[in-house]
């Protein structure tokens, strides 16, 4: 009995390095159990798709968008079935957007959506890419599509509200930002953007209410405080405006906002800041 146990122990010790060695290849594919050329070809393609996905995502994680784009371009050329086809086009679109190839990126997100019409992330990135390209009309169409895919999505309303504001479609902007304030009452930016919409519409009282709501949620929100100060300047409340501008200069991370606040306060008080 003891001899059998010793033999088993020796055998286990002898096999241990082999087991450890085998674990060093986590991505090893199983050996093909066919000799049919069509099946072997399909297996080879599948392995290449898997490997290139891994490399493309790894490159994206390191900010190497050129390599990522090359890997996903090759995956797309291999035309994998869903969900890989739409996912590869989505990932390719991200790399292309980072390379400032906006038209190509839009085409990739568009094709991802054609293959998978419910792909909300592709719709979201299509809006962002069109905005980055300065294509407001295309961004608007993409934003409408995003809202249609995900009517309750906070991001969909945020994105379409911003696009509508850029296109001066104030009623859509107001509706989207108002929906956002209802769905996410603690989100100060929704109140701020609603205030910007009201400023453009000339409803300064409504704008002030929204800015006060934003600042109640986030007292250090310098851009909202700056906007409130401009409303006070307009209403000839110079002392209140000056006090708020002083707080903006103290709170703002953005140097251009600090400079803007300082310039405005200087004009109000007539003193060098």
């Amino acid at each position: 009995m003891l001899r059998i146990a010793s033999c088993a122990l020796l055998l286990a010790a002898a096999l241990a390095p082999t087991l450890v060695f085998a674990q060093a290849y986590p991505f090893a594919s199983p050996v093909a159990r066919t000799t049919a050329p069509a099946q072997l070809d399909a297996l080879a393609r599948d392995r290449e798709v898997t490997e290139r996905f891994r490399r493309g995502l790894d490159a994206a994680a390191h900010g190497d968008w050129r390599t990522s784009a090359d890997e996903f371009t090759r995956v797309v050329s291999l035309d994998p079935a869903e969900p890989r086809g739409s996912t590869a086009r989505y990932d390719l679109g991200i790399a292309q957007a980072h390379l400032a190839s906006y038209s190509a990126a839009e085409a990739s997100f568009d094709e991802a959506l054609r293959r998978d019409p419910g792909f909300a992330a592709a719709a979201a990135n299509l809006v962002e890419t069109a905005l980055q390209a300065g294509e407001i009309a295309r961004a608007r169409r993409a934003a409408d599509r995003f809202v249609a895919i995900a009517p309750s999505s906070l991001r969909a309303h945020y994105s379409r509200g911003l696009v509508a504001l850029q296109a001066n479609d104030l009623s859509t902007a107001r509706a989207d930002f108002a929906a956002l304030t209802v769905a996410a009452p603690s989100y100060a930016l929704a109140h701020y953007d609603l205030a910007v919409t009201e400023v453009r519409a000339g409803d300064y009282a409504a704008a002030q209410n929204e800015l006060e709501a934003a600042l109640a949620l986030s007292p250090g929100y310098a851009r909202a405080r700056f906007a409130l100060a401009t409303l006070m300047v307009r209403a000839n409340r110079s002392a209140d405006a000056s006090a708020n501008l002083a707080r903006v200069i103290q709170d703002a991370d953005d140097p251009s906002l600090r400079a803007l606040a300082a310039g405005l306060r200087e004009r109000l008080t007539g003193t060098q800041q």
């Binding site: 493309g56 995502l57 969900p83 603690s186 100060a188 930016l189 400023v199 310039g263």
Partner: protein, 80 residues
Amino acid sequence: MQRLPSPAVLLLAVLLTGGAAAGVAFAAVGAFDVASLVEPSVPAGLLPPITIEGRKGWACTAERNAMATKLSDAALPTDR
């Protein structure tokens, strides 16, 4: 190699730009132009890549961000 402007020059440019923008707002005849000074918040930005498994399932961060109805899941810009 092209030299970058010094931090002092950059700061002066920012201050002059701020002063000029404030001046433009005051220059509007008869009224202070609030709309010229108040800008919307920044766009939400691109959602991250998706793995080979695709967008299905809660494990897909990008799709979760895109569909989110809760602020904590939406990856929207913050108020800074």
